[in-house]
Assembly symmetry: C2
Homo-oligomer: 227 residues x 2
């Protein structure tokens, strides 16, 4: 049975991505990161999703961070209410080299497991403007990984799979609904509140996605207007 390491933040995208890995017949190994994110609730969501999909193993990997992002530094102001045009700029919620680091830890684990693939839920259409969510980044990462690993050198491959890369948020949600992803268990909001704020980039993209997909988002928001 082929194996996949699935990056799982507990958000909408990574939860859909692991559902796709399951659909494709991989044995699942979930990898989440505790990097000091203020929205630690997402780690609980990651556990619930990993349980739901019956992963073989779920590692929550601790990483110290060097600051430099509103996702880890409570003194930096989280961008709120940004419109789509503004989201083409890289915001201060960008975590330096985050996907590079996450994929690299995943690559190490994948080598030890002799896994065939790494699933990552990045998408380059409805996203916050982060450089490490673009197709050219994923391609360059794959090329580097082929040269970096024992498996790559010996003629094998650890495939970096980003099945959501070219999908809009609405398309992702439609795909996930078809696969039965339990979106009520997921957590996307960058603020660590009791309910999702509905106003950060991540909530904004999620709500727009559900609206455009024609579904109602099953999680609770601070204000009903945001639904």
């Amino acid at each position: 049975m082929k194996r996949a390491v699935c990056l799982l933040s507990g958000g909408l995208d990574s939860s859909t991505s692991i559902a796709i890995a399951k659909e494709e017949g991989y044995e699942l190994y979930a990898l989440s990161f505790d990097y000091g994110q203020l929205h630690r609730r997402e780690l609980e969501a990651a556990k619930a999703i990993a349980d739901h999909y019956g992963v073989r193993e779920h590692v929550i990997y601790r990483l110290a961070n060097f600051g430099g992002s509103a996702l880890v530094d409570g003194n930096m102001e989280m961008p709120m209410d940004r419109d789509e045009e503004e989201m083409t700029d890289i915001p201060i919620s960008y975590v330096p080299a985050r996907n590079t680091v996450f994929l690299s830890i995943a690559l190490g684990w994948a080598e030890v497991l002799d896994a065939d693939a790494i699933f990552i839920g990045v998408n380059a259409l409805d996203y916050s403007g982060y450089p490490d969510c673009r197709p050219e980044f994923i391609e360059a990462y794959q090329r580097m990984a082929d040269l970096a690993t024992k498996k790559g050198v010996e003629g094998g491959k650890i495939e970096i799979k980003a099945p959501l890369l070219h999908m809009t948020k609405a398309e992702i949600i439609k795909k996930g609904m078809k696969l039965g992803v339990p979106y009520e268990l997921t957590w996307s909001c960058y603020k660590g509140g009791e309910k999702a704020c509905g106003r950060c980039d991540s909530c904004g993209l999620r709500l727009k996605g559900f609206r455009e997909a024609g579904y109602s988002d099953p999680i609770n928001y601070e204000t009903d207007e945001n639904r």
Copy 2:
């Protein structure tokens, strides 16, 4: 003043590499990793070298490991007394994706520091056959890093500098002696003993390098025959 994050294991290569960064006029930030290596002595060596070079900051970054290498798993037998021909095979001291992970953490820190370069002491001539020590790996990593980072996207660059890449061990030692690298403070041996074993890949390459460079290695070995 331009800044560099210098990967510093405490061994001969990384200590020469940080000396070169200093010679080139960079403000130095040293980064070492505690990844469960059995030869933890190298971290003490890293501290001594960082002190010697008066780095602005020295971070010892903790990383959990997934096993899979004789450098972290005491039950795996360390390859000893390998000759040069055997060293073209990837040995079980290979740590899965190690340089990929180290460079990625360095990349994140470099972005936060707004650093201009990352120094890594890999070399592709007298080495153990690790895939992530080859020029094609460093090139592919640079390309990926240019696409991964905010700095890269905005027209800047974090340069991956591997000044030892095309040097033999003897050339590295000659360069280091010229720069006054305190090799008596460094630690290369893969075994965590009181004295260097003189027989693992790392000791073997080091001893051969000193011999060919025409210097005597200032550290102590278990047996005098190894000098």
